[in-house]
Point group: C2
Chain length 349, copies 2
DNA sequence: ATGAAAGCGCTAACAG
DNA sequence: CTGTTAGCGCTTTCAT
């Protein structure tokens, strides 16, 4: 910029002013303005990012923290974010926590250090009763100069911004859906996770049962304490459940990956899905795979987009940060696509 | 830092010197050094990122450019990178190009602007004969102050650093493997893409045929001009190939996603995999899915790790940039897991 | 062993 | 309308 100014015989101020579009306010002659603009273009001038950030305290970078990016849920949410962030001239800085709270904390620190303007985060939920809770999210909750929007789940406090799907309603609808399909003994299978989303799904499930005059039984409830869905824990629990006398004729499984595994196990027990038992879960099937499950379709892309839009609002209008925004998107119930067809994993070159 | 210095009654210089560990060289008393260090720790002092970057011209951030992150290939390569970058105190800035060259160019520009120390990139390959080639990678190839390591494929020039698998060898082995399984007419199915990787696979395939005294036929060759593997193009081509007189009894498919789709189509034509026809491809099956294909197992995590390690070397030892590093990793051939078992998509909550 | 001073590239009062 | 000036927070050379 100095060079530019020298070359034009102007002061740095003038150039700076013009370049940030304040020419009007300072009544700078349109001729000099044009000269500056043209010269800048010709020299492919771009302000130095660090110098600018140093004085402006603004970077145009959004910090994204996700458990991973390969699950369809995550990558579709990210797509939604990209859709709004890119046109708005923001850049994403993406970190994955790999279900590791340490790493998550580290990443958050890194992003803060690197001066992101705001955060979009899907955090790791601990197993219920685990000692370390959400302490590492404190830096996010306390930082008033940098807004955070939580996605899919939020820390216990409501003093934060978040965008989630209506987990309660989804589970409620799914459970009633199962009942309408003729199920009388509807079991519950879930990771035993301390997340607002899972908790809401449980409440929705229970409300659904109540509404149809059904009851839940301890025997037909499975709470898993491991994320490895191929673990023997799950298999044993499912077998036990299906061998018992009051065997369920329907299952509500809180998450998609788990549900697929449950399907397998059900079949391994000699039962046939959609005949002996119905299964409902969150998250829809990929196009190449009809699972035969009743699905609560998550508005993933939309959630990402809404979260990103909210965040940019909060960044650009600091006053709005005072009021906590809670955005809850209603999911849609998708009946099992019959007949159940097993395709192959597609689109993964 | 100013506060720190004031509080300790020292000059900023001293503090700065101590903090960067140069206390020894400047013979600063160990007592003052300790005082400074302790105070710094107590005040949770961290140098300002932008001020530092402004003077140092170094950020500790690595720019990562990938077509996407949801394909298993991509996410595993990234895992390998994380494995070496995190312990080495680097942070990743990840951008996806979504198979869009515009976006790819934009992302590269953004990352340069944001002052990354180096690049790790899997770029988009155009279809063969498409006008816009690798021009947008120029900024990477020309930038001597910021090394780039290409992964999985490299621009036509060899004047660059790259880490790839031995595509030629993999394809060669796979083709010979098919022949050893009894195939006499081995067809070739591929995206018609202008990538070094795909080209090497084709050459490997041809060499494999030659070595076994087999010949390729135009009729048993399918070159696709769309990335949408559910397209009717592929279905039609496969049908045509399988209906003809010299129907292939083996197929080498260059990429994994495509191969799965081909399996489906083969079955849709009334043929049975592993009986009427054998299929070989790159990329191994996920644990929950035995495809029945002969697989060239890609060393994905290792590729990511090697690339990252190479890049940090290049960053930290500028002199090494003068010699172009080409790292080629040998893949392993994995026979079809029998019997072919169709599982369900797991691990995707 | 420690401090003063210049500068990285840009912004923003304020004075002409 | 344009120029002067004082930072932003840190590094580094050069005196002391």
């Amino acid at each position: 910029m100095k060079d530019l100014a020298a070359q034009l015989g102007l002061s740095r101020t003038t150039v700076s002013l013009v370049l940030k579009g304040a020419a009007g306010r300072y009544r700078i002659s349109s001729t000099t303005r044009d000269r500056v603009l043209r010269a800048a273009r010709r020299a492919r001038y771009r302000p130095n990012y660090f110098a600018r950030a140093l004085t402006m305290r603004r970077t145009g970078v959004i910090g994204i923290v996700f458990p991973n990016v390969f699950e369809t849920f995550m990558s579709e949410v990210i797509k939604g974010m990209e859709d709004v962030l890119y046109p708005a001239e923001y850049t994403m800085m993406l970190c994955t926590s790999r279900f590791d709270r340490e790493l998550e904390a580290r990443n958050i620190e890194q992003l803060r250090y690197r001066g992101v303007d705001g955060f979009l985060v899907v955090f790791n939920a601990p197993f219920r009763g685990e000692p370390y809770g959400y302490g590492h999210l404190r830096p996010l909750l306390n930082d008033t100069s940098r807004p955070t929007v939580f996605v899919d789940r939020y820390p216990r406090t409501k003093r934060c911004h978040y965008v989630v799907q209506d987990d309660y309603r989804g589970a409620y609808d799914a459970t009633r859906g199962l009942a309408r399909m003729g199920c009388r003994r509807i079991g519950y299978v879930s990771l035993d996770i301390d997340a607002t989303s899972v908790e809401a799904r449980r409440r929705g499930y229970e409300a659904g049962l109540r509404e149809r005059g059904l009851r839940k039984s301890t025997q037909n409830t499975v709470l898993l304490r491991t994320r490895d869905s191929t673990s023997e824990d799950l298999a044993a629990a499912i077998r036990r459940m299906l061998d018992g006398p009051g065997r369920p004729d329907g299952l509500f499984v809180t998450t998609n990956g788990l549900a697929h595994r449950v399907c397998e196990l059900v079949e391994a027990c000699g039962l046939t899905l959609n005949r002996d038992i119905q299964i409902a879960t969150f998250g829809s099937d990929p196009p190449w795979f009809a699972s035969g499950m009743l699905c609560v379709e998550q508005p993933r892309v939309e959630m990402g987009a809404r979260a990103a839009r909210l965040l940019t609002q909060l960044i650009e209008h600091p006053r709005r940060r005072r009021v906590w925004k809670h955005c809850v998107i209603r999911p849609r119930l998708v009946p099992p696509s019959a007949p159940a067809r097993h395709g192959r994993p597609g689109g993964r070159p």
